[in-house]
């Protein structure tokens, strides 16, 4: 058992390092390609923060069994923290070009601070909120998600027209971090590295003694408490841990946008960053499967992208096109279809594993006597 765990860590680390190296090499090779630069790289950036966000919500929703509808609030906190910090550094003259070791260090520091501040809010919200259960918790967290957006809007140094030095608009021009398309290619390694690191940390957390306690609380709070687990402590800890990663997702988000607007994080129609979208991602992937969240974040990103930008949309009948103008309707439909036909999501609680899954797939193929299922995608392999 012990040996298998060690072997698992070694194999996973080696494969992740290989995948990472492959991405970096590919990025270098394709640098001149316009399609790669303008479509694929921004898509990878978006997938990265969606993966972190979905996985972090899965900690609370899937592993702890508590419905939180305000996760994007934490992401907003992280995004604004990272943007404001980097802007402050730039104004202080610590860096002016978006390159060099100093800038990379600042980027890392911003991401960590974004996570920490989100985690602080996670503790502050978690202590009162986690005394509630089910619907009540959902309502209070949803309230948090709505309120935090307004709070940010009204901060004198952020939001409506603060940070752009009175120049305009309901958005914060985070000139400090926001990457243009060339910088996005240059720092693609950063997005991928952060994503791999975050998901790996969350994975280690749920596999640890803490994670076992959290799953025990989900299954039976009374028995968990009778086994000597301080249920309140573990709930708040996990909530804060999850908020930490949502904050980091926010930092990555801040990196890949030229401007920040609080409306991206609220329940407005065009935005895919509202908290219900994240819930759909988690449910689609499987509550209790981090690899499921990774896969479904990518699927949902493509769905969202295709609805918005796919050329095939224009060949659809008019009424479907008019539905597509309201992506929220489509996500609601997706959620209903999942609940009807596969309530446990794509992966259920199953985790893709490099050690087990290839063997299991071979067995499955043999039993069905033919190629029914294709091998798991690269995204899944990234676990």
């Amino acid at each position: 058992m012990k040996k298998a765990v060690k072997r698992g860590y070694i194999v996973n680390t080696v494969v992740l390092a290989a995948v990472y190296a492959l991405c970096v090499v590919l990025a270098a090779a394709l640098e001149g390609n316009d399609n790669f630069k303008l479509t694929i790289v921004p898509s990878i950036w978006q997938c990265c923060y969606l993966i972190i966000l979905a996985a972090s919500l899965n900690l609370v929703l899937g592993f702890m069994g508590q419905l939180s509808l305000g996760h994007c609030g934490f992401m907003a906190i992280g995004a604004y923290t990272a943007a404001l910090m980097s802007l402050a550094f730039q104004r202080a003259g610590v860096y002016d070009e978006k390159s060099g070791a100093v800038f990379i260090l600042i980027m890392i520091a911003c991401a960590i601070c974004a996570g920490l501040l989100a985690a602080v809010f996670g503790v502050l919200l978690g202590i009162p909120a986690l005394r509630l259960k089910g619907d009540y918790l959902a309502i209070i967290t949803m309230g948090f998600g709505l309120i935090i957006v307004n709070v940010i809007n009204n901060l004198p140094f952020a939001g409506q027209n603060g940070l752009a030095e009175g120049t305009a608009a309901a958005s914060l021009y985070a000139t400090g971090l926001g990457f243009g398309s060339t910088a996005k290619v240059t720092y693609l390694w950063f997005a991928i590295a952060v994503t791999i690191l975050c998901v790996a940390l969350m994975f280690m957390y749920i596999r640890s003694k803490y994670g076992r306690a959290v799953r025990a609380i989900r299954d039976d709070e009374i028995a968990a408490s009778a086994s000597g687990i301080n249920t309140g402590y573990y709930k708040v800890l996990t909530f804060a841990f999850s908020a930490f990663f949502a904050g980091i997702a926010g930092a990555v988000y801040a990196c890949c946008n030229s401007s920040l607007s609080t409306s991206s994080f609220s329940f407005t129609n065009g935005s895919i960053l509202n908290s219900t979208f994240v819930v759909v991602m988690v449910v689609l992937g499987g509550m209790g499967s981090l690899t499921g969240s990774v896969v479904s974040a990518v699927i949902m990103f493509f769905l969202n992208y295709q609805i918005g930008n796919g050329s095939w949309v224009h060949s659809l009948p008019g009424f479907i096109q008019s539905i597509f103008a309201y992506p929220m309707l489509v996500y609601a439909l997706v959620l209903i279809v999942i609940i009807m036909f596969r309530p446990k999501g794509i992966f259920g609680t199953y985790e893709f594993s490099l050690l087990r899954t290839p063997g299991e797939l071979v067995r499955l193929l043999k039993r069905h006597g033919g190629g029914k299922k294709a091998a798991g995608g690269k995204e899944a392999a990234a676990q």
Partner: protein
Amino acid sequence: MLKIQDLHVSYGAVRAIKGISLEVNDGELVSLIGANGAGKTTTLHAISGLVPAESGEIILDGTDLRRTPPEKIIGLGMAHVPEGRHVFARMSVEENLLMGAYIVRDKSKVKERLELVYGHFPRLAERSRQLAGTLSGGEQQMLAMGRALMTDPKMVLMDEPSMGLSPILVKEIFSIIKSLHADGITILLVEQNAKMALSVSDRAYVLETGLISMSGKASELLHDDKVRRAYLGA
């Protein structure tokens, strides 16, 4: 070992326990019998801190349990097997048992306890990788008991271990309780199955709507006319 003085527990305006006193000595198997709603489970919950006591004293080996949070009580050597087989359904049998030893830091000790519990319940060893939710009722009860034994407790509170089990399984569970008692573990047993409970216990208390109406040696209560008529169906 455990001493309760004048315990009162209320749920809002409803007074569930109206001042009971009982005592469990070292190595004893004491049962608490009574009808539905008499307050048996509430008493156990008050002991392990899952519901707050309104007044009274609960002392375990000199420690006031009313001032001890539930997660600390288990560290004092008292384990609770909750009613209705509260197992962690989506975790494996072995993970369930490891949860029982959550407060034990010493890994070799945990392993030792695991072997011991598997010795008591060989059926659990066979199914160590199975998800607990897929076990049969009797197996889940065994798992809940095994989990409580993981901390090497001095005293175990058992809440309705026979609930919803077939007569054969009830016998099996009670023979396990007897063997635990023979190993020197102090047990406070709550049961509706008064006959079985009295037949394995040293002493017993009869609880009636929040008050103790009778107490004494189990063998005497078993032959007491009033008890026979009210709880043994004779």
